[in-house]
Symmetry: C2
Amino acid sequence: MTAQNLNAPRTDAVRRYLQGLQARITTAIAKLDGAAFLTDAWQKAPGETLQGSGITQILEGGPVFERAGCGFSHVRGPSLPPSATQHRPELAGAPFEAMGVSLVFHPRNPYVPTVHMNVRMLAAKGRDGQEVCWFGGGMDLTPYYGFEEDAVHFHATCKTALAPYGDDKYPRFKIWCDEYFYLKHRAEQRGVGGIFFDDFSELGFDDSFGLMQSVGDSFLTAYLPLVERRKEMVYGERERAFQLYRRGRYVEFNLVWDRGTHFGLQSGGRTESILLSMPPLVSWSYQNVPEAGSPEADLYSKFLVRKEWV
Amino acid sequence: MTAQNLNAPRTDAVRRYLQGLQARITTAIAKLDGAAFLTDAWQKAPGETLQGSGITQILEGGPVFERAGCGFSHVRGPSLPPSATQHRPELAGAPFEAMGVSLVFHPRNPYVPTVHMNVRMLAAKGRDGQEVCWFGGGMDLTPYYGFEEDAVHFHATCKTALAPYGDDKYPRFKIWCDEYFYLKHRAEQRGVGGIFFDDFSELGFDDSFGLMQSVGDSFLTAYLPLVERRKEMVYGERERAFQLYRRGRYVEFNLVWDRGTHFGLQSGGRTESILLSMPPLVSWSYQNVPEAGSPEADLYSKFLVRKEWV
């Protein structure tokens, strides 16, 4: 069988939602920035292992965003890769269908945080012929210079988005995010966190899908006010250098630890779309440790730590 | 048992060779550059899983080298990580000792190629109490602008280094290098290659060690003439931009595919020393495809391909 047998009306509804979300977000970002997104519709060639299509949107070199990538993709494959079945070993090798919107926005001004958001659906047919469908996603914030009110606003918006689906969701998904976006080789959090969930189907299809939509719909509310608040702040070479250095951690996380990136690269995904998350300009330097008491040192001690923000 | 029981006189000889090699190379590079290496002797804290010490040397912001890292390390661990036992499954989990010199030099001028060299010894005690010791290493060249004579000189030097150990070694290690330094997600070679070998003990301890020494001793002969030849070439923004973009491939290879990097990060190695290989400044941009017939397009079509250079 191919994954095309999977429940079509349901996946159509998810597809419509995701494409609408991508359009809403990129329209708002382009309006805020002033520059336009390049839009690239792609399709996997017949005969490739992975089949499907996507819409890659990217804004490069804008006045506010130095690189802002937002991609929709919808693929089918004959065999779920190991990175996707960690928690569902019974589905290893099953035909699957995956659909999602993923974005990473790298602002130019070091006072504006980098942000990541992803919402996705996976469906697979197990050996017993049973179709299994689950959702995943989340959003998380990576500041270069920490502002408590920004972290609080971001987390509060996440909490509000999840509240209709049960009071347990925000605390669970908040911890999950802290655990996921952790650089083991640095013993460091990637940023101030947010929410992360995966393999989510416990509320049944409609409400699990609803929860994912609520997360997607809250993204602009969570992030845009921070951009508005910080984008005109004056910065100099020192702040720029620290931003470029810290962007290296983003690269290290995504290429060394990120399951989504490995899923994409392992399963023969479209490299240029997967690596939309890479920053436009990055530096590495040896033993770059900020002076005690500096705002750069504060980032490490007060923001890149596990903490209750709301 | 601890790996300290491993044959001490032998490992002492390897250690002396490696520390001497590191000193010779960094002295020559500092002389050529004019800037000095920072030298950082480190030691793993008692109680850490991995025990041992190392000497990290790094030159940053020099006139010729923008970032040149050269590290010696000598560690012992209770259990060989999976990345080191791919070809020796019978040693999975065995106590081990690893020692090596590893370097990556990132020049400032885009006409000077980036280079990588590594020589290493691994020893482990199998379940039968038998000590197994093997060598690995190699060197490979990554140009931004290709020059046939540079690739030929580099490969010819590698071939000469291996000749005393049998005519089969260069062809075998050359292919191994092409296979190893390949970016699957880009369907691209990392550079023009060189030589790569691993799990090497077939000539017995003395000659296998001798082969590794011959590789290490040939490094300056292989690389310095290329630096001398290219370092004064005039370049502009276009060449600089292409260099920064291509450096992204170096990051992608090392963080996504390199076994050495994963070995280090998996086994609790010293992150700042492992990531000496990262370039000082890197860019990513979407669908960066050079114009047909340009020198940048030539790099892809004539140099980043598997080819007999000598």
